[in-house]
């Protein structure tokens, strides 16, 4: 399988008012691979992730410089439709956030936004998405029940099903397992392993073992003297964890700080 760059940041910096949260990060995200972003708390991992589908637009006073290239086009280009960006780049959050509606409607919410109305098509898509999120067998008999009645792990998989129902190309995950118990975490990790055959996945995690288990590439971010996050090292996950090139990476992965 040839390696294709699906998404790429070029000198990406993010500011909140006068505070710089991310400083000039340039890195690729390869198609059908899992890219993990690790680093100590406050180094801007989540901010970086949120810049990849313009979720930071929602934060008043935030500003972005540099480029985020998705299939050759900058998502921050003037006149670029943020809705299109978000349809192509989906997101799963740290805390499961199912909407207050039925399981079916949760999954069908996105497709309906994009004009999918036919019952038969929606049925098919809901089933496919729930299967894709490894949740179908558990909920197929109670699709009309509230999504909020599920367990934490199931809720998170429902959110994954909801995200993949609009058939994005890239899926961003912000510590998707940090609010879950070990069993549910394992299921999410397995799921990520199967999902990468369909999607490009970028995951933020503060759990280094998790990054080592599930990702193909790993980026290590660390804040500089001005407390802005910088990219210290990016390489294949195995290489980064066994032969780190930078002293600071080595210190971090061996648990000497952070």
């Amino acid at each position: 399988m040839t390696l294709t760059v699906k998404m790429e940041t070029k000198e990406l910096s993010v500011f909140y008012k006068s505070f710089q949260a991310i400083h000039a990060v340039s890195m690729p995200m390869y198609e059908n691979k899992v890219t993990a972003i690790i680093g100590p708390s406050g180094c801007g991992k989540s901010t970086f992730l949120r810049a990849l589908n313009r979720m930071n637009d929602l934060v008043p006073g935030s500003r972005v410089t540099g480029e985020v290239i998705l299939d050759g086009g900058n998502i921050y280009d003037q006149g670029k439709d943020v809705v299109e960006v978000r349809r192509r780049v989906g997101m799963v959050f740290q805390r499961p956030n199912p909407f207050p509606m039925s399981i079916y409607d949760n999954v069908a919410f996105g497709p309906r936004l994009y004009g999918l109305r036919k019952k038969a098509l929606l049925d098919e898509l809901v089933e496919k998405s729930l299967r894709g999120a490894a949740l179908w067998d558990e909920v197929k008999d109670k699709l009309s029940q509230s999504g909020m009645a599920l367990s934490g792990g199931q809720q998170q998989r429902l959110c994954i099903a909801r995200a993949i129902a609009i058939q994005p190309e890239v899926i961003l995950m912000d510590e998707p397992a940090s609010a879950l118990d070990p069993v549910a975490t394992l299921r999410i990790e397995e799921l990520i392993g199967t999902m990468k055959q369909w999607f490009t996945i970028v995951i933020v995690t503060h759990n280094m073992q998790q990054a080592a288990r599930i990702s193909d590439y790993t980026a290590f971010l660390l804040m500089n003297e001005e407390r802005a996050g910088e990219l210290i090292e990016f390489s294949g996950t195995e290489a980064l964890f066994t032969r780190p090139k930078d002293k600071r990476t080595e210190d971090y992965i061996t648990g000497r700080f952070g």
Binding site: D81, V83, Y114, G115, G132, I166, Q167
Partner: protein, 313 residues
């Protein structure tokens, strides 16, 4: 996952439609925003034009002159408003805060539900009915109108406003903060007083200021309680008291016991007078009242937004 289902949807068309709807709605929102602030600007500008030229220093430091003559001021109304708002605050704030703490600490008890319900009802009672009620239980019993009766009427207006706003502000305090204090073995009251109150202080203060602004602008509750009094002057009462060697308490009693004037009351009376000077003064009183209430409101909102920012909302 096949990627064919969206092939049935014309995505560019969906995007175009959404952008169109988006700009139309954004335009409408902006239009109605402007419409919504027009009344405020209109009222303010109009009152400034009508009353602005009559405001001078005399207006603030003199009692009214007899009808039909020009000059004079509304010192009695300013002092009366001041005294009655202080009375109302002293009566309303402590129980309102205690009630709010109760509502937050025991939110689902039957008593809390009852308190919340009756507070909402109290907030909805027409203020003139409150005035009449205080007339019946205070004025009739005392057999005369007084600043105290007016203050009690205003406190009834302030009570529900403070309770509900303080409850909202206390609810914003993270639960972990209260639990952190309780986990150290702190008694409930100390957790409330030393941990939750400081955390919510600015917000609560904001609610209090808004309720004061509301009370200052009320006319109806004062009609049968404070009545009005063209000669209400604290300085004069103190001088009289000192001359007759009265105690501080006796002087204070005088101040509370006299019928009193208030800015909205004066405005209401003056606006009905046939003398053009009085009507002009009514506009000037309107301006003073408006500026006072606006200033309180702006300060309160400013603090509130500051507080929200601190909580990272």
């Amino acid at each position: 996952m096949q990627k064919d289902i969206f092939a049935q949807v014309d995505l560019p068309r969906v995007y175009r439609r959404r952008q169109l709807v988006n700009s139309v709605m954004l335009g409408l929102t902006g239009l109605f925003l402007v419409l919504a602030i027009i009344p405020l600007i209109w009222i303010t500008v109009y009152v400034i034009i009508k009353g602005g030229h009559y405001i001078n220093l005399d207006f603030f430091i003199h009692l009214p002159r007899p009808m039909g003559t020009s000059g004079g001021g509304v010192l009695q109304a300013i002092e009366g408003s001041f005294v009655m708002v202080i009375i109302a605050s002293v009566i309303a704030i402590p129980p309102a805060l205690l009630a709010a703490f109760y509502l937050v600490t025991a939110p689902n008890t039957p008593l809390a539900t009852a308190v919340r319900f009756s507070t909402d009802l109290l907030a909805g009672i027409p203020s003139i009915v409150i005035g009449l009620f205080i007339y019946a239980i205070v004025v009739v019993t005392q057999k005369h109108y007084s600043a105290l009766a007016g203050g009690i009427a205003l406190s009834t207006i302030m009570l529900p406003v403070i309770i509900r706003s303080a409850e909202e502000m206390l609810k914003l305090v993270p639960r972990e903060l209260r639990e952190g204090a309780l986990a150290l073995g702190s008694p409930e009251w100390k957790a409330a007083l030393r941990v939750m109150l400081p955390a919510a202080a600015e917000g609560i203060l904001t609610g209090i200021m808004l309720s004061i602004a509301r009370a200052t602008g009320e006319t109806a509750p004062l009609l049968f309680t404070a009545l009005g009094n063209d000669n209400y002057e604290i300085g004069n009462m103190i001088r009289q008291g000192v001359r007759h060697h009265q105690s501080v308490l006796a002087i204070l009693g005088q101040i509370l016991d006299q019928p009193a004037d208030a800015l909205p009351l004066t405005l209401w009376k003056y606006a009905q007078q046939p003398y053009p000077e009085r009507v002009q003064q009514a506009w000037a009183v309107a301006l003073v009242l408006l500026l006072f209430v606006l200033t309180l409101n702006i300060l309160a909102r400013f603090w509130l937004s500051h507080r929200r920012r601190q909580l990272g909302e």
